[in-house]
């Protein structure tokens, strides 16, 4: 599932989601405990969705062009989760993702909070402080940002639409810092670290690809 020989660190949330995916991969739709569960499951549910969405963005068949429609829909979903979390954080400074009493969503997964917009321009991030803290704890990811920032992808591929690659989406998203949906404090708690590790390895992975591309283009 990881593909391309990348070692993955321990992470419970996304692994569980992964197994889930494999199980459903054969076309079965399992019991939708997620939607039928009580309010306590909803934070977990969102957490799982987040992990799942990141994993979906990460997992693709090497060498085959991605479906832009799917990627855009996935990223918009991630943005919505981000908005939802942001609204939750605004509502409760101590709100932790996945907290059983998290009032972020009500039973049927609706999020009235996210109707208030910010989806079009999530760059106006009010949580810049929490962002900084988190970025600090992910030096690897930051290094990745710097590395990619120097790359100036747009100049190299001036005539080519490289933007359809997940890699540039992800990396430039990080460079922009705010547009990428995962700029809020996902990893403020233990549970979140799993996801972060996944993202980290995901980014490293994509960096490798970028590096290879760079070599190819330069040669």
């Amino acid at each position: 599932m990881l593909g391309r020989g990348v070692k993955r660190k321990r992470k419970q949330a996304s692994e569980a989601a992964g197994e889930e995916t494999q199980r459903h991969g054969d076309g079965e739709v399992g019991t939708a405990e997620a939607t039928s569960g009580g309010a306590g499951d909803i934070g977990d549910m969102r957490q799982r969705l987040l992990g799942l969405s990141l994993e979906k963005l990460h997992r693709y068949q090497a060498g085959v062009e991605l479906s832009l429609r799917r990627s855009v829909l996935l990223i918009n979903t991630l943005r919505q989760i981000q908005d939802d979390m942001r609204n939750g954080i605004e509502g409760d400074a101590n709100a932790v993702l996945g907290a059983p009493d998290s009032p972020l969503l009500h039973e049927d997964l609706t999020c009235p909070g996210c109707a208030e917009g910010g989806r079009e321009s999530p760059s106006s991030s009010p949580e810049s402080s929490s962002e900084e803290v988190n970025v600090g704890s992910f030096s690897d990811a930051v290094n990745a940002m710097g590395y990619l920032g120097d790359l100036a992808m747009d100049d190299i591929f001036e005539d080519i639409d490289t933007s359809m690659y997940e890699t540039s989406d992800v990396s430039s998203g990080w460079t922009a810092g705010s547009l990428w949906p995962v700029s809020v404090s996902l990893w403020a708690d233990e549970d979140g670290k799993g996801t972060a590790g996944g993202l980290q390895s995901c980014l490293m992975d994509l960096n490798e690809l970028d590096h290879i591309m760079e070599i190819l283009v330069k040669s």
Binding site: A17, T21, V29, L52, N76, L109, M213, L216
Partner: protein, 447 residues
Amino acid sequence: MAGVAGGNDFQWCFSQVKGAIDEDVAEADIISTVEFNYSGELLATGDKGGRVVIFQHEQESKNRPHLRGEYNVYSTFQSHEPEFDYLKSLEIEEKINKIRWLPQQNAAHFLLSTNDKTIKLWKISERDKRAEGYNLKYEDGRLIDPFRITSLRVPVLMPMDLMVEASPRRIFANAHTYHINSISVNSDHETYLSADDLRINLWHLEITDRSFNIVDIKPANMEELTEVITAAECHPHQCNVFVYSSSKGTIRLCDMRAAALCDRHSKFFEEPEDPSSRSFFSEIISSISDVKFSHSGRYMMTRDYLSVKVWDLNMENRPVETYQVHEYLRSKLCSLYENDCIFDKFECCWNGSDSAIMTGSYNNFFRMFDRNTRRDITLEASRESSKPRATLKPRKVSTGGKRKKDEISVDSLDFNKKILHTAWHPKENVIAVAATNNLYIFQDKIN
């Protein structure tokens, strides 16, 4: 034309099934598009292996009137080959995304087929005579040295077995950076449009080295991209009008007379979202997977993940009709997101008189809706009921509560068996339904 569910007077029955029975389905054999030509005499399918198979309607005879829905293979050809984009280091799949017939103008038939990047115009013609007896070439086709030819023989046309030839007439390449999702022949019969995720191009059928970009929604900064084009179609009668749908559930109607670049739409069709049913998946399920004008040109139909909607072109704020295709999946969206089914692109089609519509679902089920009676029916494309002229039994999915006899529960639906592509004969009640690698043909049964 009678209704789809029809009560006592009208039923659907099995006519034919094409394709291997083998349980082991080769990826290349999966049907990726189905399309009748304008008369309904020919039916074309494209598959993931880049092949186009054309079926021809079996001539009816008085003794066997039931042959109305019988088609036989007329021509098979390899339309697209797998390619490699060296610049991007990516494979270009040979999968046929769409086939569109051109209106017939002479004895030959023409169709457009497209994969992700390249559109091809094919001529399908018959030959039942060959020239024989001329002495300019050897038998293996090499030209004879003119100095050796001492006399000139006039060739004679000799009858031979009927041969159907498919030859590529035009190749429209290098105009799409993203994946082509739609092609649509214009009513002027001279131009056609092709749409990818971010752009729509207008072509002349005779000219392959240039096309006009008529829609471009690519933002200068791709990070700002939040929407893609999912389908596009020309109006059936007004050659200046076309529509395109988006991943945000909206449809834009453009008038090419207004400006060369139709970035500004003339009409914008959008139904306000019901806040009570909002979820993380709202946008994904509202993404439109297909848009089709009615034959009359008055309406258009759009398919999203859970429903099909009919819009009056004169009313932009909401559809005039909404039909639920498989509402019981709303509680399963999380699982369908996990297994990626939520990204499936179901298509839809009108019957010849615009009185009924058809679209696919999972478990090899497909749905028909009668617009007049508002009745709907779920049918199944399955080998089990594929006895000649066997009546199709309506199927039901139990939605909560106790499962009645003959009903199937939502949990036992097979999500690998999906009907994405269907086609309705333009004049008759004959339908073609693509179920993975099999093509089913059904017809109405008049008692």
